[in-house]
Amino acid sequence: MTARKPRLTQNEVDAVVINQVDDSNAWGKPVLVPPSHSPRPKWMLVRAHLESAAKWYVLYSLHRRGLNASATIGSHEAADITVIRGAGDVATIEVKTLTEPLWRREPIMAVKNHFLVFVWYPESPSDPKFPPNVYVWSSRAFRNWLHHRPDDTFSVHDFNKHENAWQTLVARSRVHHTSRAVSSAAT
């Protein structure tokens, strides 16, 4: 008589399957599934469109401030926008779109010259009359701020000090140009 396989809960099965992800013996042959031509549900489109709108709104805001910014296509997922601030001085921006006044903790890239811009649509997201609220953080400052907080969700009101803090990006640019001007004047 063979031992009966113990009945696992859904979460236990999930854990087993996740552990097998890199074990090629645990999986059958791949079946190629063609693209679906049926329309996508509205919730998918709204979210994707909002993300695009947020990205282009940030780009628009940077251009209005005279910064040399470009959208990146197909590069690292953490860099949606690059800003050329001077020779050898490039900043990258990751745009985070919020559809509710909350941000849920997720891994972030925190390196020098990398910024996080949170875009939240406080009014009806589908009404273009209302511009979004924008919160600009240096990624390192954001990481340090997060480090002291154990929570998994944060209200956008916690970000109020960083609302429209575009100077975080611009100020660094000025410092860079000033230091270059000083060093070139000295030589």
């Binding site: 079946v31 679906s36 998918m44």
Partner: protein, 98 residues
């Protein structure tokens, strides 16, 4: 005994999706959003994979669990682990960017 075998076969056939006739809009989707977000994947990005075409690999031990490999709209490849429930719901358990 033969009758019992036929019934079992019927049940198994009911639970396994026919990938060659797969229509993404015929399913409902559930997402383990926290696990996906922890790997930098938004729910709608995981869903895009099902509309863009993908490779499905069935788990040998748990035949309603699949590994799905495909692209989001922006071209980023993802690997998802999903649970197909009663041919009507796809529950995305977790996923990783490749």
């Amino acid at each position: 005994m033969a009758e019992h075998g036929r019934v079992l076969q019927h049940v198994v056939r009911f639970r396994v999706p026919n990938w060659s006739k797969f229509d993404a809009s015929a399913f409902e989707y559930e997402f383990a959003s926290e696990k996906l977000l922890a790997h930098g994947i938004a729910d709608h990005e995981a869903a895009q994979v099902f509309w863009n075409g993908f490779r499905a690999l069935k788990n040998k031990g748990y035949r309603d669990r699949y590994q799905i490999i495909g692209l989001i709209d922006g071209g980023r490849p993802l690997k998802l682990i999903v649970h197909v429930r009663a041919k009507t719901t796809i529950r995305v358990i977790t996923g990783w960017p490749l």
